[in-house]
Symmetry: C2
Subunit: 628 residues, 2 copies
């Protein structure tokens, strides 16, 4: 954590200086975020970081959510929470999945036996693990974060969206009619916003207003969900367990705090048109769970939350208000994210994660456009990037959910051994690290990929250990990446020492800092710190004993802030503690080095040679506006 | 973290259920803690955990401290903060010392050159590092913690102690007269308390009231202290540096946030009786620092805090109200802790740490006596244990402070090479892990030490990695130890598998849970959970694949709480991830196993054979009262 750049401030450094207040609530807010679920909360937390952007964050529920719903947090999501400074708290409270146990029918087909256990997340996939915590807590973390951000944003509860009206003219705002449920008489009001993001769930009003539909085949299969504090002699009650019992499927997900368990209970097939919600009660699900656990006992003592659902894997064909026929002629003004545009089974544990990834993708783009750093066309990439990811996950989810139920797509039986083998295969997918954005406006081509094979263009930046030069602190390079809308340029040194005139790293830094044609000079607003838009970090091949801070190019020891202080945290050396060297681990070309360009949402946008100045500038010029 | 034992509760699990309110403020409070410094804050945070104990926590300052004073946090202190659930936050915010740089005069004796760097904390000394953060932040953490504890304790500011009157009769309270500085007219009030703890600093009113004096030789040497946000080209500005320059000594302590630096600036010798405070100004110290940094530049941009002091290494001969002549005839009612009874140089960075260790030592004893679990004689051990530790540290500090100034006790010059060599030698001391309490009421003899050579009787329990049986979570065994006043009994298994009738571990657990003569049965109050006083944890030699939860003795899967839930976090297996096995690392006798008894303040009280039932019971019977 860095703080006190502009002077000492007493108290909690996570509480950032408050941005200058705008004069009242502006008539037209920059962004209206609808829905205090995971997607909306993450977006609001992201936008709250920008002092010059006005945001309102509304929620239909009249009070904050306290329990229930999703609970699986993928490695990739923990990485993202790390960028928000929330990973430590999350890791401290959450249950950590280490192994998944598989259970199948016993010999007599009357009860269940363990068929094996596998490591849940393959070593090296991420520096973080796969954790479980209630969705309500995640939302609380994010709401806490936005309350400490420069804009001190807070959700407004009891605000039900009645209607969303797109403007006729580009210059006009979107108009959202809201009924205020917490106000006497429940009056309606109209909120005008430059951009509207509907994170309002599977029954999204915003989606309906856009005239898009969730498309997918119903599965006609019912599941009950229980959060249970209870007694059981099931041996893996504190391990994630996938059970295929003679009478159906059961998934056991241990939860935070050491006592709570989430169960997904197979309720069997449903007749099309059957109103399963009418016959299924809490007791019904408990009885089903008891049968599935046999011969082990299962006795609930408290059920803080339960629900039931029919699996519905659906996705909308677009995630914004621009129909195909108009794509490219105008940029979107209204977006949908999360369950509003894709719903999943609970099996692959992805839904909440993908929802937050949606808005992490969108948030920095909205900020760049609203701050005038990028043209509105940048916003076209949200739909282009996220809709295919949702579609891909739905396809995966369908196959996996069937498999967990013991069936192939063709209705063949699948053994738990087969499930177990497949489980390991799909690890990167369920860890959330398989996402790959194709080349496009903000993702470069892969011509120079071989300079850094471990940083696949279009995939998330995979952190690794390094040592900070100034204080030899061993740390994760990726953890310097905060959710602040800035681009990271990781410059991995070439063979020449950084002190040498032959150093390409030094030449790159001097170009970036000094050449009016460099992206840093062209796209950083006057008056901003030199790392205000591009945060350049250097990773040397030399050991920390061989280099002094004063040897670094000026860009790697920049003077910043109102007091003119030196930032000493820009340069790193390979990890000194005997672990794998980042150059080897991520396959960096030691002769030539590499420049790894990382987007504000932690995805690798480009890999370039250190001396590819024209290419670098041209890349950013595609979607950045020269600072004025 | 474990929570929801008594049912689900929404929100932050660190905010524990509030204890039943007492009827108003009791006429006589159980404990009055005086002073919101490190010692007092830690004590108040500890006492706040006990819902049945009434505590008041007063401070003379009219508002909370915001900056300045101490900043060094030893490994041992981070371990202690871990018990309070505060280590993650501390580690996230603090500066981490990895290396210490040594600088000495250059060849011409006109400037300084680096003579070397050494690793600051030897690998393996503690799972935590040596960190730096402002004392004010530590106090804020502790005040936050007590506000979330069952008693929701908070400091009362502007309360100046005028007088402390000891009772004539045992049954009477101590009377403390307080002037309320924040109340109009500053009225006086009398607080009656069963116990009073003066953590009121070097000019302690409580100490004066007890008639004890800080004893020690003045050093007649002045030091300036600066917290600086500034510019410097000194190459180790972000490393802890000990500089012996031609004109004197300078210590550079990098601080939290990446920009702030603490400097200790040598102001030279002082004439006895000289009023150094009158001639020394902020500018004077800055100018001295500039000379000491030469040939490197040093330019402050903001100085949030500065001070000056004459080194005064002093200690009182006792830490409570009982004179030697009365020792053993009555137990203490008033205690002093922290700077009130020992003051140090800043060189060894120990003062704040030792102060908090004082009250961590005292807090659980007060709770045990006030809850009726131990006789008041337990309180005699506070002075007996802590006074010699302070004396020992003062002696060490004197020698070390001279050495850092480049002198031996005999006034000989010391080279920085010699300082560097000595620095490594004393690592365990400055890490805070050298403390060893001698055998006595609450520390057993070392007859069975060889069963667990890595757990020295009288020293702090040194954590190591294990895997939790129920969920294979890799974790530190020592981190199960919360600051909750409970004893930990770590039962390391003998060679026999836990399922075998020959298992001594199983026999021990069955004895503890079932035999009316066992300490668990004798000293745990009726109605309390079976781990309410003794938290027994089993460490198996078997791998987690070889044991099922159901194989464990009942004591290692106890049923607890109002809902009757099983605690699955009592049993561990050796770390499975290829690291060192805890049995080897801590030299546990694999044939016979070992029972390591750990006090509520994390110190090893005893090492016993698993079958030493009589010895175990006899040990606790020395200072525990049978529950009734």
């Amino acid at each position: 954590m860095q703080f006190y750049l502009d002077g000492f401030r007493p108290g909690d450094p996570d509480v950032r200086p408050e941005a200058a207040k705008m004069d009242g609530v502006p008539d037209v807010v920059d962004v209206l975020v609808i829905g205090n679920g995971p997607a909306g909360s993450l977006l609001a937390a992201q936008l709250a970081e920008f002092g010059g952007i006005s945001t309102r964050f509304i929620e239909r529920r009249q009070t904050p959510m306290e329990k229930g719903q999703a609970d699986g947090v993928q490695c990739r999501t923990v990485e993202m929470f790390c960028a928000f400074g929330l990973a430590d708290q999350l890791n401290r409270e959450a249950y950590h999945i280490t192994e998944t146990a598989f259970w199948g029918p016993d010999e007599d087909n009357r009860g269940i036996v363990r068929t094996g256990r596998v490591i849940d997340t393959e070593e090296g996939i991420s520096e973080f693990g796969h954790v479980i915590i209630n969705q309500a807590r995640l939302q609380q973390y994010l709401v806490g974060k936005m309350g400490q951000a420069p804009t001190r944003l807070a959700p407004e509860f009891g605000m039900e969206v009645m209607d969303v009206r797109l403007p006729e003219e580009e210059s006009e705002p979107v108009r959202v009619t809201v009924r205020q449920l917490n106000v006497e008489g429940q009056p309606e009001t109209v909120i005008k916003a430059r951009y509207v993001v509907g994170c309002d769930g599977a029954r999204s009003t915003v989606r309906r207003a856009l005239g898009v539909r969730l498309v997918g085949d119903p599965q006609f299969h019912g599941w009950g969900v229980l959060d249970v504090l209870g007694q059981s002699d099931f041996p893996d009650i504190r391990r994630k367990s996938i059970i295929v019992s003679p009478t159906g499927g059961l998934a056991v997900i241990p939860r935070e705090g050491g006592y709570l368990t989430r169960l997904y209970v197979d309720l069997g097939d449903i007749e099309p048109g059957e109103a399963i919600r009418e016959r299924v009660t809490e007791e019904y699900i408990v009885e089903a769970a008891k049968r599935l656990f046999a011969p082990y006992a299962f006795e609930p003592r408290q059920i803080p939350w339960w629900s039931m659902y029919e699996v519905a894997q659906r996705v909308t064909e677009r995630f914004d208000d621009v129909p195909d026929s108009e794509r490219g002629t105008r940029s979107p003004r209204v977006f949908i994210a999360g369950d509003a545009c894709h719903t999943h089974s609970a099996k692959a544990g992805g839904g909440m994660n993908i929802s937050m990834q949606d808005t992490f993708n969108l948030g920095w783009k909205l900020a760049a456009v609203l701050e005038g750093r990028s043209p509105a066309s940048l916003l076209d990439t949200y739909n282009a990037e996220r809709q295919p990811i949702a579609q891909e996950f739905i396809d995966f989810d369908k196959a996996w959910a069937l498999m967990v139920d013991g069936k192939t797509a063709d209705g063949e039986d699948v053994s738990t051994d087969e499930i177990r083998a497949r489980f390991t295969d799909i690890g990167r997918f369920t860890a959330g690290v398989a996402t790959r954005y194709p080349g496009g406006l903000i993702v470069g081509d892969d011509r120079h990929q071989k300079l850094a094979n471990g940083y696949t263009v279009g995939m998330r930046f995979h952190s690794a250990q390094v040592a900070r030069l100034a204080d030899t602190r061993r740390m994760h390079l990726g953890h310097v990446h905060e959710a602040d809308g800035r681009w990271r340029l990781y410059a991995f040194a070439d063979r020449a020492p950084v002190t040498s005139p032959a150093s390409r790293l030094r030449a790159l830094c001097d170009f970036l800092a000094g050449d009016p044609e460099s992206p840093v000079r062209r796209f950083t607003p006057p008056g901003a710190d030199i790392d205000g838009v591009f945060d350049v970090r250097g990773v040397l091949q030399q050991s920390h004993d061989e280099v002094e801070s004063g040897d670094l190019p000026a860009l790697l020891r920049p003077v910043k802030g109102s007091l003119g202080l030196t930032d000493h945290e820009k340069a790193f050396t390979p990890d000194i503690n005997g672990g794998a060297d980042i150059f080897d681990l991520r396959e960096i070309d030691r002769e030539r080095g590499a420049l790894v360009v990382v987007r504000p949402d932690q995805y690798v946008a480009h890999v370039l040679p250190l001396d590819a100045r024209g290419e670098l500038t041209a890349f950013f010029a595609r979607f950045m506006t020269a600072a004025g």
